[in-house]
């Protein structure tokens, strides 16, 4: 149960990255999982090779990924701004391929699997008769903290409000004097930073390796279940998917665990085509 929630938190964070980018640019970033993988590797470099403490590792990895995300937006995505949505999706798939390939070539990274050391050991503690794993509680706590920070950022900071405005209506935002393109770049940076955070949280569970990004495919269902345009939806969707997986793994025969998320997504799409929290939109001809 708790493991499901913890896993769901990671899905939720990756899904959050999807949603941030989708809201701002109406693009689904298929490279989100690979960004997460890259974040994991940055953290690995900082903590294992350079021997930094855990908190410094997180800061470094998130900052580095934010820069990578902004670079990707500037170099690859800005030229295709305004092209059909699927073209842009294909380009992010291309970015994912490149990242996955690059990681295998960097000396010290390669195709091996690594363990990222964390201060939260494998220990457990008891509270009210229920056994908690420290690891899982830490993941949940850190996700909650990040959500609070993000909420405050969007609510109170100038940049956050500008991002909200951009995602609601780009044209109107541009008229109000908001540099929409630069904001888009920052959103990519933010989303990549969140991905890096998710990567670090996920690292103890799945280890760090170059195909770690495929977990991003599990976050799709999370984002879709919640509705692509909704930030709280992403969190709820992630938790739902995590729980469904945990229960399917326990109560259903082997094999159902891997597809449970996708079955849920198909069901949700059939009932509510734009997700639970998604807004239904009409389109002008």
């Amino acid at each position: 149960m708790l493991a499901g929630v913890a896993q769901g938190c990671v899905y939720a964070l990756v899904a959050l990255g999807f949603v941030l980018i989708y809201k701002a640019t109406e693009t689904v970033n298929f490279a989100q999982g690979d960004l997460m993988m890259l974040g994991g590797f940055f953290a690995l470099t900082a903590s294992v090779i350079w021997g930094w403490p855990y908190w410094a590792t997180i800061v470094f990895s998130v900052a580095a990924m934010a820069i990578v995300g902004m670079l990707i937006e500037r170099v690859v995505l800005r030229p295709v701004l305004g092209q059909p949505a699927f073209t842009v999706v294909m380009i992010t798939i291309g970015v994912g391929y490149v990242l996955r390939g690059l990681v295998t070539m960097v000396p010290g990274w390669g195709t091996d699997t690594y363990t990222l050391p964390t201060p939260f050991s494998e220990g457990t503690f008891k509270m009210g008769g229920v056994i908690f794993a420290v690891q899982e509680v830490a993941v949940i706590g850190m996700t909650a903290a990040l959500c609070a920070v993000l909420y405050a950022f969007f609510r109170f900071s100038k940049l956050g409000v500008a991002m909200q405005a951009t995602s609601q209506n780009q044209l109107a935002a541009a008229y109000m004097g908001i540099p929409v393109r630069r904001i888009n770049m920052f959103i990519w940076g933010l989303s990549s930073g969140v991905a890096a955070f998710a990567g670090i949280l996920l690292a103890p569970v799945t280890f760090v390796h170059s195909n770690m990004g495929f977990i991003g495919l599990k976050a799709f269902p999370a984002a879709v279940v919640g509705g692509f345009g909704s930030v709280p939806g992403a969190i709820v969707g992630g938790l739902i998917i995590g729980l469904v997986e945990a229960f399917a793994g326990r109560y259903l025969p082997e094999g159902f665990k891997d597809v449970a998320a996708y079955v849920v997504v198909l069901a949700v799409l059939l009932v509510r085509p734009s997700g639970i929290f998604g807004e239904t939109a009409r389109k002008k001809v």
């Binding site: 989708y22 109406e26 689904v28 690859v76 030229p79 295709v80 701004l81 305004g82 092209q83 059909p84 949505a85 699927f86 073209t87 999706v89 294909m90 380009i91 798939i93 291309g94 970015v95 994912g96 391929y97 490149v98 990242l99 996955r100 390939g101 690059l102 990681v103 295998t104 070539m105 000396p107 195709t111 609601q168 209506n169 780009q170 044209l171 109107a172 170059s210 495919l217 799709f220 269902p221 879709v224 692509f228 094999g255 891997d258 597809v259 996708y262 079955v263 997504v265 198909l266 799409l269 059939l270 085509p273 734009s274 939109a281 009409r282 389109k283 002008k284 001809v285």
Partner: protein
């Protein structure tokens, strides 16, 4: 510069618009027919794959390029075709029966996937098909009594009318024949009312339904036809590789299939064939380049980097794909010296939003 004067209505119905086309396509056919006599074993094998992927690409092109529906789940249809063929052949069903069965089963699956497409658009559809692909892959892996799970299935060579088509040449002619048939069928389909309805749906769903196009019918039809062609491709693929496992039909395969369409040029039948050829040749080029690079860079990562870069570069610099590039070159020569840089430029809006505000 060639001017086409329309002097009769039949002219619009002709397969070849002018003598030049007859000449060049005829030459291509002759070259293909003669290929087994001069091409080596390795080249023949590549040609097989190009034909097979062309058929799949054509199917996908109908869906993506002409109906405007996105699918990230075509590997599932490929799997359906391949497994149907393998299982039926194991029961000694003749190829002439098993191939249509493969196509039909894939089409039925396509119909099922097409149903949610009625309500879903764009990215949600892509994710629904993605989910479908993952589920089919898992089912194929787990249904061991039928598909033998991860241990895979073996296939025998094709035989048609008692003729053994297992050899390079025989199988090649079969592939070419099926490719040409698919092209002709699609050309015919696209100039019929059905094809026009597809294009109308691609250009604007709402306008199409206002004009009396039955969206439900044509979307599912498009999915079914596309899946059927992919199923045929899958059956041939199964015969080509002679050994199929679920790992060959993953999401990555689906993405590869869709890159055929993107690289070749969305919305051109030529594009499907060119894209397939490109996708097959690319790994060979990479293998050649590997020898020139230092050993640390030569790993499996190189292929994925090049693949990704090619995709990015094409979308940024040549959104019309290989065939679009060819069209531009040809127009440049035809119109020399009057070609303008913006002749093929698409209308580019600052933010083409599907949302109404």
């Amino acid at each position: 510069m060639r001017f086409l004067f329309k002097t009769s209505y039949e002219q619009d119905l002709r397969l070849f618009k002018h003598g030049g086309q007859v000449f060049w396509y005829g030459l291509l056919m002759l070259l293909l027919l003669a290929a087994p006599f001069f091409a080596g074993e390795y080249l023949m094998s590549q040609l097989h794959f190009i034909c097979i992927y062309s058929i799949v690409g054509l199917g996908l092109m109908l869906l993506v390029g002409y109906t405007g529906q996105v699918s990230l789940g075509h590997a599932a249809f490929l799997a359906a075709g391949a497994y149907t063929e393998a299982l039926l052949q194991a029961k000694d069903v003749p190829f002439l029966v098993s191939l249509p069965c493969a196509a039909l089963l894939a089409a039925a699956l396509g119909f099922v996937v097409g149903l949610p497409a009625l309500r879903l658009k764009g990215i949600y559809l892509a994710i629904a098909t993605l989910a479908f692909n993952v589920i089919v892959e898992e089912v194929v892996t787990r249904w061991e009594s039928l598909t033998n799970g991860n241990s895979g299935l073996h296939l025998k060579p094709v035989s048609l009318f008692g003729l053994d088509l297992g050899g390079d040449a025989g199988f090649f002619y079969l592939c070419v024949a099926l490719t040409v048939l698919s092209v002709l069928a699609l050309m015919n389909l696209l100039r019929s009312p059905t094809g026009r309805a597809f294009v109308a749906i691609r250009d604007s769903e709402i306008s199409a339904s206002c004009m009396g196009v039955n969206l439900a019918k044509y979307k599912t039809l498009s999915f079914a036809i596309s899946a059927a062609l992919t199923g045929i491709g899958g059956a041939l693929y199964a015969h080509k590789v002679t050994f199929i496992t679920p790992e060959q039909f993953t999401l990555l395969q689906s993405i590869e299939l869709i890159t055929i369409v993107i690289l070749g040029g969305v919305g051109f039948l030529h594009g499907a064939v060119l894209g397939a050829a490109f996708l097959i040749v690319l790994p060979q080029l990479i293998a050649l380049a590997k020898d020139l690079l230092p050993a640390t860079m030569g790993g499996s990562g190189l292929q994925s980097i090049v693949f990704g870069l090619v995709l990015i570069v094409f979308i940024i610099f040549e959104p019309l794909g290989l065939y679009g590039r060819w069209l531009k070159i040809r127009t440049w020569f035809e119109l020399f010296p009057f070609y303008r840089a913006g002749m093929f430029r698409r209308q580019k809006s600052y933010m083409k939003s599907e949302r109404l505000r």
